[in-house]
Symmetry: C2
Subunit: 76 residues, 2 copies
DNA sequence: TAAAAATGTTGTATATATACAACAAAATGA
DNA sequence: TCATTTTGTTGTATATATACAACATTTTTA
């Protein structure tokens, strides 16, 4: 299982699933599946998403759960 | 399409496909498919491979062709 | 509050990733 | 050189990722 921060990154940018989907060239429902954790993106889609948000791939995807934003901020 | 350096990383370590496959928990033929570029690994397998070789995922996989080892060394 | 947009759910269809088997060819090592 | 190991090839089977459609529910906005 792979954890991701797609929803967080997307909503922070004020984008709808459709807009994000168009930007990376997939169906808008595919974004929904990823956000809900129904399945993992392909490596190719993972790269496109990371590139779109301009973050390292490990910042968007991880085999281990991400710290919450709160934990992350507290740790500084 | 995603480029990878699996073969390079594996042979540098003196490992057979079978050994690498066992280490990351897939069939040895799957490693062959990846090395030949028949298909991309899942995101999960990509993470396992990068972790196994102890390199960032972008050092093992890239949406753009890697510089050859020679080019890479020359650039320093 | 009514209309529109976004999201969730269910279902079907297709493409791709992975497993596994059998066998041929090539490389390695005794 | 012979035996063993590794790699390549072909084929079949299964699981997962993605597309697409229809419709219900929730959220946003006029």
């Amino acid at each position: 299982m792979i954890y991701n921060r797609i929803k967080l990154l997307r909503t922070e940018k004020g984008l709808s699933r459709k807009e994000l989907a168009d930007a990376v060239g997939v169906n808008f429902q595919t974004i929904g599946y990823l956000e809900r954790g129904d399945y993992n993106p392909s490596l190719e889609l993972a790269f496109k998403l990371a590139e779109f948000f301009d973050v390292p791939i490990t910042a968007a995807f991880s085999p281990r759960p991400f710290k919450s934003l709160a934990e992350h901020l507290a740790a500084e």
